[in-house]
Amino acid sequence: MVLLKLTYEFDNDEKKLDIEKFECLDPENITIYTREGDTIYVATGDYVYINQLIKESTSGIKTYATISGKVKVEEGQIKVINDKTNSTLVSEEALDKIDDIRKDIIIKSCENLGIEYENKLIASHLKENNKLIVVNAMDIEPYQFNNNYQFQDNITALLTTLELLSNKFNVNAYLLLNKYDDNNIDAVKKVIDKYPNIIFKIIEDVYPYTTNQCVARKYFKDYTYNDILFLDTFALYKIYVALKEGLPVSERYLTVILNDAERVAVVNAKYGANIGTIIKDIIKIDTKDKDIYLNNFMRKVKCANIDSLIITDNIKTIFIMNHEEQKSSKCIKCGKCVEICPVKINPLADKLDPSCIRCGLCNYVCPANINLNNKEK
């Protein structure tokens, strides 16, 4: 069993940052990118309603319209032009309470909507090897506040859903919050007595100590990683909406960071909404001559064209940095990348070790600016 070393403590305490909140719930249009093999349920000229199924990927992940309007199918993408009528499909499965839903209904609801987390379908996990449920309600990556806001806004719904899952699947359920998340910790402490099946744990916020793989190794040594159903706040919220409304979630949070956190914004935006438009027109940040990094600045995943970015489950944070030539030079073999690696692998190896969690810390400490994460496993 490999234990973990604490690594970098990023000071992303929300209280020290002035976080602006925005919404983009009625965009002009949404884009859904398609791949070969996807099943597409609409054609150009069709009219779609909010929550209408648009496409299904080969792995069973479903994509729904998040606005109503006319469809335009193009090469590699489907566009829905908003007609601002806000027409929505009403689900027959809408319930007043979710306290006593049967196990098979839970699985079916997740299956029908193709709810996934980290590209794994939650329904299949619930059916097959579910021995423990862990809701990692922390924002794992530095300078990300999506889970934080999602939790604040839906605390009762989320705890009720977790209690239900624990009860119906007869497994322990853990709720993890980071120790700096004072507001949510206080809120949970006040109500946790009402949810006897939930084990509440407060965890040190040391990156990448809070990633699911690290949490599994550190706190749940008796289980293999695949035995645990890890969920983040948003995935749990998706299950809640699926059970309560019988509908998919149509919007999600996105954190936008300007330079070295000069400005921090959290936007609640519709899936498929254009991120470029959100940043320029809603948050009012000029992206001209800026470098855009996706999700984790340490992984150095640069985006060449922000106008092609849309809100999806995969994009959680956007870093907008002043343009700087990030030139790398030859490795000086200082060993800092090996020293910092939380899973103790050698990032200098030709091929990345399968246990790499792509936290990006090796990139961050590399004095030669080498992108060590940019390798295949």
Partner: protein, 302 residues
């Protein structure tokens, strides 16, 4: 709030700090090999300046060679690799391990040839360029019957060799390796460089000291002899500057510690049992070639 989410390339700064760490040795080597000889009338003024000018020439030549290599051979128009090259530092170190009267027509081409060799084979092995240079130069000069560690001043006067002169470096030896004091000043500068593998000199010196204690108790050698052997052998220079050369040392912590332990233990035996001081450089060379093996040791995670 941590500022500077994206880090800049620090290699140039690291290399400049490395070069800065050997400046005290270069200045002292001018005093010892050039100034003293000039001051006592064994050398005229301009030839005495060679000990200041040659390292500058070597550093400049290294940049010229690096430019040629990247621009012409590799056809890389980006000068970044040239500016951030560690070669000027290693070449300057090569100069410091030369004998004070070594011929330039041997040393400078040998340094350049080594650069080429390292460039083509160092992707698979981690060769310590300075150790290799020292060994080759020693063999070459012995073959040519030109090997001599004394400078012009030392050839003409009797040099006092008490503990203090060993510590200051006022003894016969290579251009820049004799002074313990100036090596320690270099170490003090290197300690400001967080990319310098300080565990190598620390573990080496500790393991060396332990073996020396054992030697003291189980052999006829007394404390003063052990101390003189240590200071006369160039062990301190090799421990501070040559052995921790990052490009030729393990990147894994456990591997680095084993590397240092082996270096400390074996060099203590070489220095005190054999008096074959070149053995230290041969040892570094062998250990650096074994670096891929040391890198296989995984650190038990805390």
């Amino acid at each position: 709030m941590k500022k500077g989410l994206l880090k800049e390339n620090k290699v140039l700064k690291i290399n400049l700090l490395y070069i800065l760490s050997i400046l005290p040795l270069i200045i002292y080597s001018y005093y010892k090999n050039g100034f003293l000889a000039f001051h006592n009338g064994f050398m005229s003024f301009f030839p005495s300046l060679q000990y200041l000018i040659i390292p500058i020439i070597i550093i400049a030549l290294s940049y010229v060679f690096e430019t040629y290599y990247y621009l012409v051979i590799k056809k890389d128009e980006d000068m970044h690799n040239v500016i951030n090259s560690v070669v000027p530092y290693t070449n300057a170190l090569c100069y410091l391990v030369c004998g004070p009267l070594d011929r330039l027509y041997i040393t400078i081409p040998l340094i350049i040839i080594l650069d080429i060799i390292i460039k083509f084979i160092d992707t698979k092995f981690s060769i310590n360029q300075i150790a290799l240079f020292k060994c080759l130069l020693f063999v070459l000069l012995n073959l040519l019957g030109m090997y001599n560690n004394s400078n012009m001043y030392e050839l003409n006067v009797t040099v006092n060799s008490n503990l203090t002169s060993y510590f200051i470096g006022n003894v016969v030896g290579e251009i820049g390796t004799t002074s313990i004091l100036f090596s320690l000043i270099g170490l003090a500068i290197l300690l400001f460089n967080k990319y310098y593998k300080k565990e190598i000199p620390i573990v080496t010196i500790l393991s060396y000291a332990i073996v020396c204690v054992i030697i003291y108790f189980f052999t006829d050698l007394n404390f003063k002899q052990i101390l003189i052997n240590t200071m006369a052998s160039g062990f301190v220079f090799a421990t501070i500057f040559v052995a921790p050369l990052s490009v030729a040392t393990p990147v894994v912590k456990t591997g680095t510690i084993i590397y240092s332990l082996l270096f400390g233990i074996l060099s203590a035996i070489i220095v005190n049992a054999t008096n074959f001081y070149l053995g230290i450089y041969i040892l570094i060379l062998i250990l650096s070639l074994l670096t891929p093996l040391f890198n296989k040791f995984k650190l038990a995670i805390a």
